[in-house]
Amino acid sequence: MFTNKAAWFFWLIITIGLVIYLVMQLNSKDKTVFLPGKTSHGHHQIEMACSACHTDAFGGKDVLQNACMSCHGEELKIADDSHPKSKFTDPRNADRVTKLDARACITCHVEHQEEITLAMGVTVPEDFCFKCHEDVAEERPSHAGLDFYSCATAGCHNFHDNRALYEDFLEKHLGQPTVLDEAKVTSKSELQQYLLIVDYPIAQYPIKQLNKNDIDAPSEAAKNQDINRDWLETAHAEAGVNCTACHTTKTESNQTTWTDKPTHEACATCHKPEQDGFLAGKHGMRLAQNLTPMKPALAKIEMKADAHDKEMTCISCHSSHRFDIKQAAVASCLSCHNDQHSLSYKKSLHYVLWQKEIAGQAKDSSGVSCATCHMPRITHKKGEARVVISQHNQNDNLRPNEKMLRSVCMSCHGLEFSIDALADTGLIKNNFSSSPGIHVESMDMVRKRVQEKSN
């Protein structure tokens, strides 16, 4: 039997051991022991970079709020957030704040709570709309008797992003056909426009077609004829981007030297807007936190077994010398993604259109690749310059999926058809290979109201 002294000694040893263990864990790469619960699919990739969100051990809600806004603040601004914090710091809404403190993201979106995290990747209380809009039927009789949880689940409203759902927008797009006459996405900007927004070292690499004799790689590296041929066929060679434009790095003494394997940072020299998107999305967010690159094996959705160990960098999709954007738009995606939606793509009409476009049988930007929807063309602004580029944050318009209405669907389809299609989970699974089987009532309500007002 232990004496008191032995028991205390034993407790002391255990405590010291535990402290040493925890300190070691805190400084190790694997911090799993500190996770209070499983992390949502939006953040699980970076859950070992605790300080990405928990920037300070003290400070509570404010620290977390700042962390949320540092990554998501800009997208909320762009989305014309319908419920900005300033709405709730107004003293006249103090009563509402006691019901739902919408000043803080974590009031609704609690991390590490897998059991209550919804498909969208966040926790959301079911009755968040009802707390302030309980009396909506007084203003909109059409809303009488609707379920309190249906505002945001029926495809009609979102808390933050209602750019494609507000009433006047619906009214403006009443009666559109299923497929628009001019069904295509915006074309990407030409090189000269693109140069306005990037810091391309034009003095060192003037815009001119390069040929084999111009190759400036060290003699050993320049021997690979396959690489040389690939490069010569790209827009890089066409635009004067020589080997050393990408294949250089800085030594510790700040000397420029050749590197065989440039990182994503080399690409960012000229493709910073794309890189920013890539680092903000699920393909690059680990790199943004100085973690090892994302691998399909770490994904929470189905991936192809033989792709599990691929590392996600720019060249994973674009390859290292061909930079074939057609490959990056479909084949690269399907080389990893193995879920039903991805597997159904090649049976869809969208794929037929894509094949026609790349075969030169249809107009530029009229095909629908994976990237058309998930890496859509966006207008990037820098100063007064406006350039159409591809959004490389594949998560930017994904959830709630009504974000796709304006950025993607409405380029080719009528709004009513698009809303219905996005509300049909079965249709999404089969990659829009049939017609929507669900009808969202929002457009009907607007139609009825317009008629009532005109009578």
Binding site: D80, K85, D90, P91, R92, A94, D95, Y166, D168, F169
Partner: protein, 190 residues
């Protein structure tokens, strides 16, 4: 919002608005003076924007539209939105006062009077043209000096836009009518 003392509020506002005007008093200014000063700036800016920008360009010259959906419509921001965006920016900066534009006949129902003081004040300014309403109220555990000023239709654009809006509860506004009120709140010590 942090509980702020009126002394702090007065010092900030007096430095911005009343500097050099001889309007300050030693030891700070009264909440009413501060609210009146703030309102005079708000009212002036609001009137100038409505008359010189909206009414002139959208109503008279018809060279550009003004629209609630100004981004989508590539149009001018409506005066009420201009006012609200300003109030939101002030809130984002954590200023020691807040303000809003309310009405007993709001296009957006979120802007109808809600607190007792708002209801009382908006009725008072509508029934007593040219007069302001002052009171105190406690919201979310903080005591506020609340001032309510009449918001008058200064240009044809105000009247036509509100009378014709599909969500308006009133369609007979005329120039010079009190259409709503500017509510300014200043936290004060209990």
């Amino acid at each position: 919002m942090k509980k702020q003392t009126i002394i702090l509020a007065a010092s900030i506002v007096s430095s911005v608005i009343l500097a050099g005007c001889g309007g300050g008093k030693s030891g700070g200014i009264e909440p009413k003076e501060m609210a009146d000063a703030l309102h005079s700036v708000m009212e002036a800016d609001r009137t100038v924007y409505t008359r010189l920008i909206i009414n002139r360009l959208a109503k008279e010259e018809k060279v550009i539209k003004a629209s609630e959906h100004w981004k989508d419509e590539k149009a001018l921001v409506l005066p009420a939105q201009m006012f609200r965006y300003g109030a939101e920016r002030v809130a984002e900066k954590g200023a020691p006062f807040s303000y809003s534009l309310l009405s007993e006949w709001p296009v957006n129902k979120q802007n109808k009077p809600k607190t007792d003081i708002e209801k009382k004040g908006l009725t008072y300014i509508a029934e007593n043209p040219g007069k302001n309403f002052y009171g105190e109220e406690e919201l979310g555990g903080t005591k506020y000096f609340t001032a309510i000023y009449p918001d008058v239709a200064v240009a044809p654009a105000c009247v036509s836009c509100h009378n014709e809006h599909k969500d308006t509860p009133r369609t007979d506004f005329k120039i010079g009518d009190v259409m709503g009120g500017v509510v300014i709140r200043i936290p004060v010590k209990s």
